[in-house]
Amino acid sequence: MNANLAIEARGLSKYFGDLRAVSSLDLEVPRGKIYGFLGPNGSGKSTTIRMLCGLLTPTEGDATVLGTVIPGNSKALRPKIGYMTQKFSLFGDMSVFENLQFISEIYSYPAKDRSTRIGELLLKYDLRDQRDQLAGTMSGGQKQRLALACAVLHHPELLLLDEPTSAVDPQSRRDFWSNLFRLAESGTTIMVSTHYMDEAERCHRLAILDRGVKVADGTPQQLQASTGMHIVEVVGEDPYAAQAALIDVPEIVSVTQLGVRLRVLIPISVSDPTSLVLQALAQHRVSAAAEVTHATLEDVFVAVTLKSAERVT
């Protein structure tokens, strides 16, 4: 076990009957980093996170989390982990303060420091005005801040966040991420699952999951550099016609429309992707400009999930 790794998973798998929710997942999450877990719904993100904190028993494989082997003594692990569930799981009929107090008691936070710590969290997560409000009556963003405050109350070494931003507005998401960066700077390892590309781009490292299989792994820059695809951006007056012209070209693996622009993915083996695109457009008498551009994470995502779909079929 590498001491610099917070999580090391080896061949982690979980089957629910015939459904392979996660298959032979290898993971290396470095300490003190924000590790992203990107994938569509049903790709096995939640299942993986639940296995890592001991909520689910892996069907095969194991993982070392903060030096503890899973499956096994997850009890020893609990005080070191903070977990934020996908669905709001605090007590709606208790106030913000009462929820924080309950969590502090459950984690046996030193009694004399409790009120100081709760005050600190109320301030840090901007919940002072909601201190005595029932948690169930708060907005999505407020609930999410409370959930994060509760998850970090006991100073966990590892924070597992299961799609924490799926129910909040963009401003709240931005604030949430600046909180995560602050936590990572102070040494907390964070594993966060998401299906937002812009969030994935903020992670130090990330893994892309598709149908339970890890299809890519690395820093966002590495992933963008290693798509194995040319990205050709096509700008024209009639993107529909352009798309129709390009979709049947055998070398083109994907055409995605973004407003008036089209992003066209062509394998790296094609030597001159721009002229391939322009030729196809000219054949269909569509006038548009085309140029090669850098891959975004979305392109990476499209490219790797396409490959994985080919492998399945």
Partner: protein, 366 residues
């Protein structure tokens, strides 16, 4: 040390949530009062004033004296005199009367003849309660002033109800009703306790904290034991104020028995809670246990009169044993040591149900 403080944290949380849940809070107080009023006033097995018709074919001094004594019992209310047995039967069939008394022409002679019945009672057997009362009537002593000397009338057995001489229903009902109310409320509260947290997602958070299964289970049960004891006080108070139901034995004994019984039901409720996946299922399961607790526990029907199979089922229900305890302590002035076997059953039942619930509730989602 940490374990104890976590336990207190759970208890505090439960009490806090309970005090904010108006519906549950209303059930704690409202349900016992509603039930006791319902059972105390509406259900009355005291039989008085059964409508009765008499066909006196003898019409002698002796027969008139018999009719007068019959009327004095107040069990019957003589509404009409008819001439023939046929009319008596017709009236019975139409439902005009519940009891028909046929006094044959040779009544005077029959009274002295121990081999033959002096009077025939025609009884509407479609109502079991009336039939039972008529059976008692048949044992009425024919204590005529003109008592024909020397007749050894062995069938004339006097019935003397002990412990409830006035034969008032609430006195019998209230001790048993305590068991029924507690079965209903206690089991329901805990049956939904864990499932509700599962449905709301709280459980996923809780099982990721250092809280152990045992702490969670015990922490959820303790507040309800207190509530159960409050309910008992309420039932006893209302029973005493409205229906004059006595507690003849020791109130401490009664509370010891009640605490054990409450624990048994809470443990069963917890077990249900770990076995079902929605609150609705939990409620269905509660009803599933509640019905036999009412019907087979001796609350409604005399335990000894039930078929063997029903008795076996009744024996494993906590309510059966609790009703024996409460009737013993409250009405017969029995001490708890005389009823030790019932207490032991409740203790064993609680332990088994608690362990079963603890085993079923694993701190995992799969």
């Amino acid at each position: 040390m940490n374990s104890l403080s976590r336990l207190f944290a759970i208890i505090k949380k439960e009490v806090r949530q309970l005090s904010r849940d108006r519906l549950t809070f209303g059930m704690v107080v409202g349900l016992p009062i509603m039930q006791i009023l319902l059972f105390g006033y509406a259900i009355n097995t005291d039989v008085r004033n059964l409508r009765t018709a008499i066909a006196d074919q003898s019409a002698t001094h002796l027969s008139r004296q018999f009719i007068a004594e019959l009327a004095e019992t107040q069990v019957v209310d003589i509404v009409s005199f008819v001439d023939t047995p046929n009319v008596l039967e017709a009236k019975l069939r139409k439902g005009d009367v519940s009891v028909g008394v046929l006094i044959p022409a040779d009544f005077d002679r029959r009274v002295t003849d121990s081999a033959r019945a002096a009077v025939q009672l025609l009884v509407d057997g479609s109502d079991p309660t009336i039939l039972a009362v008529a059976n008692q009537l048949s044992a009425m002593p024919l204590g005529f002033d003109t008592m024909v000397a020397g007749k050894p009338n062995a069938a004339n057995i006097e019935v003397r109800p002990y412990y409830n001489p006035e034969r008032r229903t609430p006195v019998n009902i209230v001790p048993g009703l305590m068991g029924v109310i507690l079965t209903m409320t206690m089991m329901l509260f805990t049956a939904v306790a864990i499932v509700r947290e599962r449905e709301r997602g709280n459980l996923e958070l809780l099982i990721n904290t250092p809280v152990s299964s045992a702490e969670l289970m015990i922490g959820k049960v303790v507040p309800y034991i207190v509530i159960g004891l409050i309910q008992i006080a309420l039932i006893l108070l209302v029973g005493w104020l409205l229906f004059d139901v006595p507690v003849r034995g020791s109130i401490v004994d009664l509370y010891i028995a009640a605490a054990l019984f409450v624990a048994a039901n809470l443990a069963l409720g917890l077990f249900i809670s770990t076995a079902v996946s929605t609150q609705f299922q939990a409620m269905q399961m509660t009803v599933f246990f509640l019905l036999p607790s009412i019907l087979l526990s001796g609350f409604m029907f005399p335990f000894d009169g039930m078929p063997k199979l029903a008795q076996y089922i009744g024996e494993v229900l906590p309510n059966t044993h609790f009703i024996r305890l409460t009737r013993g302590i409250m009405l017969r002035e029995a001490s708890i040591t005389e009823l030790a076997s019932e207490l032991i059953f409740l203790a064993v039942f609680t332990t088994i149900a608690m362990i079963a619930a603890g085993l079923r509730f694993s701190k995992r989602l799969d």
